[in-house]
Symmetry: C2
Subunit: 726 residues, 2 copies
């Protein structure tokens, strides 16, 4: 089933912005390469990329360039690329930053199409560096040159024995495609990922970016998994489209650094203050099906798991263990990672009971020790494992073994038994945990046949199995569905006719908060109803408005300068009659003038008092990488106390909106909870869809807080809204 799914995805149309095939070929498997500014030093610590290239056994043509000319390692050196006898597929500028402009000029003049710039000190350095980067980007654009870097080790293609790094690191071959923005992953691959097949480091990503490369790795049959080491993306929308496409083909595991910005974020809205950068990346990853690694250990563990097992039938896991305690540890980990212990069939339980002492209680996780004392350890382990693998209710098995005996006394080595079982049941992953002083040796032993993976802790074993399940049963199917259905369409719906006038509001508003009245008008043009209300310039007008609306009413101060009205006495609820209203007006003016003496006051807003209903927050924040991010959750005065929110990056279909709502605690109440009646859920979905269109249609909207959106069984109404333009 999994294999079939993979073949089907081959038909997926690649993103239109993917790097052209010929450019990608020149970058990753060039027939000729120029090394501009290559050092003349060789040997230990010389960091000579020519030496590395030769050691790797690169078989293309090499054109070294160094102003001093002469010869390096037997290769004639050109004093300028212009003297070289051919236009190389790829040029690598591998000298310090001050020499980069001249070498880049030579590349442009020679007609090179792909250039890697290795040096540091551009946007990662000082202002001079930033200016230099702008200059060569401008020239590149004019000449149609594509740049990888700067601040990069370039490309490592283990299939073609090709490597542009100036450090010749330990480099085992593995079916892993890697995109990374730091040398740490390139050179550390053996320890951090277990090896690589193809590794591309865009460094500062001044030009070529992840989104252009990942589709190629997704379609490369030599790679079974993609790793991304990310500092940040330049274009979130493109990245998400590319990642979704890749996830439909194979697992994408991302380790994102910078999850903890040092400073707090200053923001003008609840939405802004609750949606830090990392939270936006997190939801973007989840929406496109990327598996986010929390640590580098996760990357290593998930890689070997995906390399070893083509799929998994479900999340029901059997446990065979040398110890009863390990079974409980496993069940604890299942709960953490969304797996479940397999309910064993009657036949399996009987097979195990027959092996065991009379007093033994057969649990769903099997402790083989009591039976082993009777029938001998290896035989009991073999029969138990076999019974579990034959059980149709078991999708995978965790084998716990001991590695605590010295080799000459080791009567509990069951590696061979486990390998045999794995080869008989290739459809059911077997994952090992081994504990004891010889754990490292035993992990190697268990993994020798490449049909089992093993770990130093049960937590890591279970987490890896969970990633396998999650990818095959949730992430990949969802990515495929998204590509074929909703996300291929134009994301923005057409602006409703009534909205045409409202648009004027935005185009004529200066940056800053819209007045509340304008915000209501804009929302209503998208069919999102505001409370019945009237703007009044003075107290008499307010009283007249209240007569029309009907008491009780709500009174608010109207001012373009006050964002949190309730903090300054700018809101009064439940005003029963005209007398009370006049008094409230007077008190409000006094309070606001005292608290915000500089605020411009433009009168009062009088609105109907609505009682009952649940207070919802519906917000949006424009992220610099990913564009608008929709926020839904608990609203009202306690919004930031409970921080009960869920995020999504639009466009959104109704399933996605319902999933977003289900992530919040308040959704349990909205569906009807104890004596609180259910509200109009389909109505909320519709409002969120319209809201999503609104923020996508108007790029000048920076932040929106609709708070509260009051939800009643038969009515949805905006009581307050703030919209920040920029």
């Amino acid at each position: 089933m999994d294999t079939k799914a993979k073949n089907d995805t081959k038909r997926i149309t690649p993103p239109h912005f993917m790097l052209p095939v010929e450019d990608y070929r020149k970058l990753t498997a060039p027939e000729s390469i120029a090394l501009l500014g290559v050092t003349r030093r060789t040997g230990k610590g010389s960091n000579n990329p020519l030496e590395v290239l030769l050691e790797w056994g690169y078989r293309g043509r090499i054109l070294p360039v160094n102003v001093a000319g002469g010869e390096i390692l037997g290769y004639p050196v050109y004093t300028s690329l212009l003297d070289a006898p051919e236009v190389p597929d790829l040029a690598v500028i591998c000298s310090p930053r001050n020499t980069v402009p001249e070498f880049f000029r030579q590349c442009a003049e020679k007609g090179v199409r792909i250039v890697i710039i290795v040096a540091q000190g551009f946007t990662d350095g000082d202002d001079d560096g930033v200016a230099m980067q702008e200059d060569f980007l401008k020239l590149a654009k004019e000449k149609g040159i594509r740049i990888l870097g700067p601040n990069t080790l370039g490309v490592v293609n283990n299939f073609n024995s090709f490597c542009t790094s100036f450090i010749g690191f330990i480099n085992p071959l593995a079916p892993v495609g890697v995109l990374c923005q730091s040398g740490i992953y390139v050179v550390g691959n053996a320890g951090l990922m277990g090896g690589t097949g193809l590794c591309i480091d865009p460094g500062n990503s001044a030009d070529v970016e992840y989104a252009e490369l990942i589709g190629h790795m997704a379609r490369d049959p030599r790679l079974s998994v993609i790793n991304i080491y990310m500092e940040g993306v330049t274009n979130g929308e493109k990245f998400m489209e590319a990642a979704r496409d890749a996830v439909a083909h194979k697992p994408v595991i991302t380790f994102k650094i910078g999850s903890s910005p040092a400073g707090a974020i200053a923001a003008g809205s609840h939405t802004g203050s609750m949606t830090g950068e990392d939270r936006v990346y997190d939801v973007a990853f989840r929406q496109c099906g990327i598996i986010r690694a929390e640590t580098t250990d996760d990357v290593m563990d998930f890689n070997k798991t995906f390399q070893t097992f083509p799929g998994i039938g479900g999340n029901r896991i059997g446990v065979v263990s040398i110890s009863g305690g390990a079974g409980i540890i496993a069940v604890d980990a299942f709960a953490r990672y969304g797996l479940q212990v397999a309910e064993l069939s009657e036949a399996t339980r009987k097979a195990i009971a027959d092996l065991s002492p009379d007093w033994f209680q057969v649990h769903n996780t099997i402790d083989v020790w009591p039976a082993a004392m009777k029938y001998g350890y290896p035989e009991v382990y073999r029969q138990t494992l076999s019974a579990l693998l034959r059980d149709p209710g078991v999708d995978a098995v965790i084998c716990v073994t001991g590695s605590f005996l010295e080799s000459e006394k080791d009567f509990i080595d069951v590696s061979g038994i486990i390998h045999e079982a794995a080869s008989e049941h290739p459809e059911k992953p077997i994952v090992g945990w081994t504990y004891g002083g010889r754990w490292q040796e035993y992990i190697a032993k268990l993994e020798k046949e490449k049909n089992v993976v093993a770990f130093s802790s049960l937590d890591r074993a279970v987490k890896s199995l969970a990633a396998l399940y999650h990818y095959h049963h949730i992430l990949q199917p969802r990515a495929e569905e998204s590509l074929s259905a909703f996300y291929g369409k134009n994301p923005c719906l057409s602006l409703p006719a009534a909205g045409k006038d409202a648009l004027e509001l935005i185009s004529h508003s200066p940056s800053g908060f819209m007045t509340q009245e304008d915000a209501f008008t804009l929302l209503e043009s998208y069919g999102i109803s505001g409370v019945r209300r009237e703007k009044s310039e003075n107290v008499d007008a307010a009283v007249a408005a209240a007569e029309r609306l009907g008491y009780p009413v709500v009174l608010k101060i109207s001012s373009p300068d006050i964002t949190h009205k309730s903090d300054v006495g700018g809101i009064r609820l439940n005003i029963p009659d005209a007398e009370a209203l006049r008094q409230a007006c007077a008190e409000m003016l006094a309070s606001v003038r005292e608290n915000c003496p500089a605020a411009r006051l433009t009168g009062f807003l009088v609105s109907e008092q609505i009682s009952g209903g649940m207070e919802i927050l519906l917000g949006c924040k424009r992220d610099s990488q990913f564009g608008p991010v929709i926020v839904f959750g608990t609203g009202g005065v306690f919004t930031e106390i409970y921080q009960d929110i869920a995020l999504r990056i639009p466009p959104l279909d109704s399933d996605e909106i319902l999933a977003m709502m289900d992530e919040t605690k308040i959704s349990r109440i909205l569906k009807g909870y104890r004596n609180v009646p259910a509200v109009d859920i389909p109505g909320i979905v519709k409002v969120i869809m319209s809201f999503s269109d609104l923020v996508m249609n108007h790029p000048s909207i920076q932040e929106v807080d609709i708070n509260p959106l009051l939800a009643q069984p038969d009515r949805l109404v905006v009581l307050d809204a703030r919209i920040l333009l920029g």
Copy 2:
């Protein structure tokens, strides 16, 4: 400072229930040992404890007992212990369970004081096993015998070459004391803890339990850290007292299994349903200062960290790294685990800037690579590390190194430089992360001098450093303070005079929920005020009561059988006048009779309507191990939606109560938030103290929900309370 603190703690009085010194000596370092039921088989897979004992080099006298007599491994075998020439310090019954009663009888008759029972199949087996365990416990009590086990590997004393395990595992010596209830930790110690000094396995803990043993390990100068592998404790109060005492001496790291009970807990109160067993263990551990390991990797990592570093000055951590990316990964991990990146002094920043290229920006985490390209890697690493260690604003340093070069080309090996720096600054821990294909080799290299620890991931490195900081600066000081001040006193305050009558309520109530009226009376006897209210048998009485209380009023149904009144229409708020009240009574009766036809109705409860204020939950659940557990948090209809609660096990002083309140989100509101005024916080603390006395004074109270406790700026009042007796 840390050394001083440790010496002071030596004066702490040990818990009175600690195992007598002579019994502990006989258990862990016996001069003679009897092996009852020892097998005649020897060699690989024979599981012969006599053979293990000899291999370990035990130097005491050994008395093998086996009904067949003869000789094993050169030792004469007695057919009965009664034939042995001496009373051994320790007897180990190491045969299957059916033979245990007879051997135990022999021990009793011979006058043995300490017996280890190895066999499985007692409370861990079937009903027969449970009965057998009861029998030998009874005999033990009569004869004053102490039992370790059953279902245990016994004792492993690496200092005295003594081991009762029948499996002779790999066993490096380390200053680690271990208490464990499963063989998994005993035999796997090298892989799970890095080795042990002294290990005691109480197995099923039928008699000797953790609380009696831990104080000895705390006072053993050969041990620098204590590990506990826990399935559960038998007496929570004793365990907490013993653990607090131990934490004052040295770090106690606990790995608790069974965090995920398979089934949901059925409970009659919010408090009951939100406080699962694992959550109670968790708060117990935190209250006595135990470090809870989430995985076995944590145990291993924390052990080696505590063994290597006697202390740490604070939580400001410097980072020296071969890669800029690693610095960001470290800062992410600091945020996760409560550390912070050190702000470098001007002198340090200048020293680093002087080494680096002009364009280089000195951040708080130092990427040495750009400077290394100029001055040579090892020298730059040395100078940077030295500058950080001299900086008074740096408490510890994380060194990131690469292990990705083949040995003949390795110019980045700085292990020697790091060792030198560590020996010059023993007061500042240095923790390493090394990445690359040779990471295992490099960890060993970095740890060779035993003055540095290193890890396979930065996450693990930072988590371990955080445990070190947390123990020395928070857990140990708090444990010492607790022992010397509050917790030594009698926990229960005296019952207030007015409470004497209220006590009758409890002693005469059958099991089940108290009526609400009785619950109010009991609370008020402890000074916890209920809302002004009157019980009324019929509608006319209700109207009369309302006149006395003043409108508006609240009407509730009175019934011993209805626990969630609002679910069945049994509560009506804000009733403005007599007419509305009569109607509400009629509607309520109809609704309740429809929803709960079997409920006994005892009239109405009319009470004053109080508006405004915050709704708090104050609850208690009696845990079978730890006794009463106090719960504080968000109350009202959304209690279980937000599950915003904190737990504590009493007795509680006001600091502990404030700390509990601060763990909840609602506490931010209670202190005054935006336009919500602050409530009477000292009043709440007083209420919680009285509540704590109440539940400690009355063991028959099983669960309490005070929900809501309404908090206003000048008033605290219970609106509803349910008390379950049992």
